[in-house]
């Protein structure tokens, strides 16, 4: 398993040159403000989706109003899904109300949404093959 933990200091600058096989470009839109960080997790299998420390890659990106993007290189070909949240207050948690509803922005690849919880891995899944992959998603608040 590949594992990354990357902190990007330059806004919107990719961490690897795009357009190589196995590269994954992630573009996260709909960010409401530049406070805190955007937390990204990439999963490579349904049984690991949304698990505890089961992500293939994790990124902390400085938040910026509008969009941030990043590129992760050298992912093996396969099926992946991404979850993201906007840790606006920098406490490294997705803050919630008393029913556990998010009070910070969040989103998934394919802009997938669950009806009674997070979406399924399948609903958020995309493929990385021979060509570089680009995933666009928008945060919801």
């Amino acid at each position: 398993m590949y594992r990354y933990l990357v902190f990007l200091t330059a806004l919107g600058i990719s961490i690897a040159a795009p357009a190589a096989a196995g590269d994954l470009e992630i573009r996260i839109g709909g960010i409401s403000n530049g406070d805190g960080r955007v937390m990204v997790a990439v999963f490579d299998a349904a049984e690991r989706f949304m698990g505890e420390e089961t992500q293939t890659a994790a990124l902390m990106l400085p938040a910026r109003k509008g969009m941030v993007r990043a590129v992760i290189g050298d992912l093996p070909a396969g099926i992946y899904a991404i979850s993201v949240y906007h840790d606006a207050n920098g406490n490294q948690e997705l803050d919630t109300n008393m029913l556990g509803m998010p009070r910070e922005g969040y989103g998934f690849s394919n802009d997938a949404r669950g009806i009674a919880g997070p979406p399924s891995f399948q609903a958020a899944a995309f493929e990385i093959g021979a060509d570089p992959a680009v995933v666009d998603l928008r945060l919801s608040y």
Binding site: T54, P118, Y141
Partner: protein, 511 residues
């Protein structure tokens, strides 16, 4: 990154999907061949009263000085705010239920014997996003919109379209199942979503909170995916005193509730939410199933301790609205309601009117109910001669023994020009007497609220204030009646030069 936390949060996301559609399966008729707009337009040409279901020509309606009849008393000074669905189509896609459209606030400013009007939409996230995109981005209460992705949260589809209430200096536009929106009382500018605390931020909140005589505001919300009711106690200063959760199996739509001196009283009609239906493409409304075998469960909660609950039972019935409730010395609880045998009116009349059709539905009887201390319950019909709705009381009798019940009535259905209320009435709960005024044949009567006469203390000393849509003249009128002599008709009227879409609830805020 704390994955576990994220997982827990996501798993609970559904709670707030009270109105979240979820899957991308759509009603087959929604995307193409939609004839609701043309059907309405054709019917509108024949039935002038359908003006009440039209989108206003402008996003801002303003008349600084209305034509008036009679004398608006100088001592009556303040603003009458109303709310209701107004934007009945988005980019030509007409909603299929009266309760869907974006809320527009109507403000009637009354001062020095004059009346001014201002109407503006609540600038919800949904409204602003749809204006910007010029296409539907959210489903409605009774409508699945084509090509609309599942909602991220209740507030993503919150149209803030049911009521408006002032509390602790804040004016709040209310929906059924999302955040209140704070409104500038002077300009009707939308200040933003209001949360009483981080813990309650974004939770469902009712259109029918209750303000007691000490200025406390009590509220509830139904969290269908969690199968729980949220309870709120907001102090007179506007600060959250406490919030709680009560699990309720087979939970469904709950529109209104009551408080007494000691209890929160929440009857739960057996209109049960089934998430699978939502996933299968049904609208939020159609994801509810009438299950009369469940009866109507009545939840009693101790106002001082939300963990102390009791259950009572009533026969199956659908109720939108209660007037008031109070508690006798022996613990018996008495309340009134406008009671339907079933929720058919919401699935038929209030849906198909959006295509200009009148479908029959069971009427609402004004009822009195006693929940006896020992657990038994009696219900008695006050009137079955007319369909009754929008019950209101003198707010000085909130949650205590009261005598006067005000409501609107649909009299003489057979010869009525339209299927809605045509009269306003007062019922004396002790003598059983009725005092009522029937408006003109073309007038649809909207909710009338009680306004106490400044300086008075006696129950019933004041006015009723309410709007009517005069379909014959194509205008909306504001009416003031002496609350002790409704039969005399309005003592003063103010006439808008245009009609407003029919609204739901409002409140008067004294200057």
């Amino acid at each position: 990154m704390r994955r576990r936390h994220f997982i827990a949060a996501s798993a609970a996301m559904a709670v707030h999907s009270a109105l979240e559609p979820g899957l991308l399966i759509r009603a087959a008729t929604a995307a193409s061949g939609d004839d609701w707009g043309p059907a309405f337009a054709a019917a509108r040409a024949r039935k002038p009263w359908l003006a009440g279901f039209e989108t206003p020509a402008s996003d801002r309606l303003e008349t600084p000085r209305l034509d008036i009849d009679g004398v608006w008393p100088a001592e009556l000074a303040g603003a009458f705010y109303r709310n209701g669905p107004a934007r009945h189509a988005v980019a030509g896609q007409r909603y299929r239920h009266w309760f869907d459209g974006d809320g527009m606030l109507q403000k009637f400013t009354i001062a020095d014997g004059r009346v001014a009007h201002l109407g503006r939409y609540v600038a919800t996230a949904k409204y602003m996003a749809e204006i910007a995109a010029d296409r539907p981005l959210a489903d409605g209460f009774g409508t699945r919109m084509p090509g609309v992705p599942p909602a991220a949260s209740p507030d993503a589809i919150n149209p803030a379209n049911i009521s408006v209430i002032a509390h602790a200096g804040r004016l709040l536009a209310l929906w059924e199942a999302g955040s209140p929106h704070e409104i500038d009382p002077a300009t009707l500018d939308t200040i933003g979503r209001h949360a009483w605390s981080d813990e309650t931020s974004g939770l469902p909140f009712t259109a029918h909170p209750r303000i007691d005589r000490d200025g406390n505001l009590w509220g509830f919300g139904y969290a269908l995916f969690r199968g729980a009711l949220v309870l709120y106690h907001i102090g007179p200063d506007g600060g959250l005193r406490k919030a709680g959760l009560v699990p309720v199996p087979d939970l469904g739509m709950v529109h209104d509730f009551m408080v007494t001196a000691r209890h929160i009283v929440i009857p739960i009609p057996p209109l049960v939410f089934e998430a699978d239906r939502l996933a299968g493409g049904a609208s939020f409304l159609d994801a509810h199933v009438w299950k009369p075998d469940l009866g109507t469960r009545v939840l009693l909660v101790d106002k001082d301790d939300f963990s102390r609950v009791e259950w009572r039972r009533l026969p199956p019935q659908w109720i939108f609205h209660y007037g008031n409730a109070w508690e006798e010395a022996d613990g018996s609880i008495r309340f009134d309601a406008c009671r339907y045998d079933d929720p058919g009116v919401m699935f038929s009349l209030l849906r198909y009117v959006m295509r200009g059709e009148v479908r029959p539905a069971s009427p609402a009887y004004a009822m009195q109910t006693v929940l006896r201390a020992g657990g038994a319950a009696d219900q008695q019909v006050i009137t079955d001669q007319a369909s009754a709705e929008f019950p209101r009381i003198d707010p000085r009798r909130a949650a205590v023994r009261y005598r006067q019940l005000y409501c609107v009535l649909g009299l003489g259905r057979g010869d009525a020009a339209h299927p809605f209320a045509n009269a306003v009435a007062r019922h004396d709960l002790e003598t059983g007497d009725w005092d009522l005024h029937r408006y003109g044949p073309d007038e649809i009567v909207e909710e009338h609220v009680f306004v106490p006469r400044p300086g008075s203390t006696d129950e019933g000393d004041g006015w009723l204030l309410g709007t009517t849509l005069d379909a014959g003249a194509g205008v909306t009128r504001l009416n003031l009646l002496d609350a002790r002599r409704l039969a005399g008709g309005p003592v003063a009227r103010a006439h808008l030069p245009y009609s407003l879409p029919l609204g739901l609830h409002g409140n008067f805020v004294g200057a």
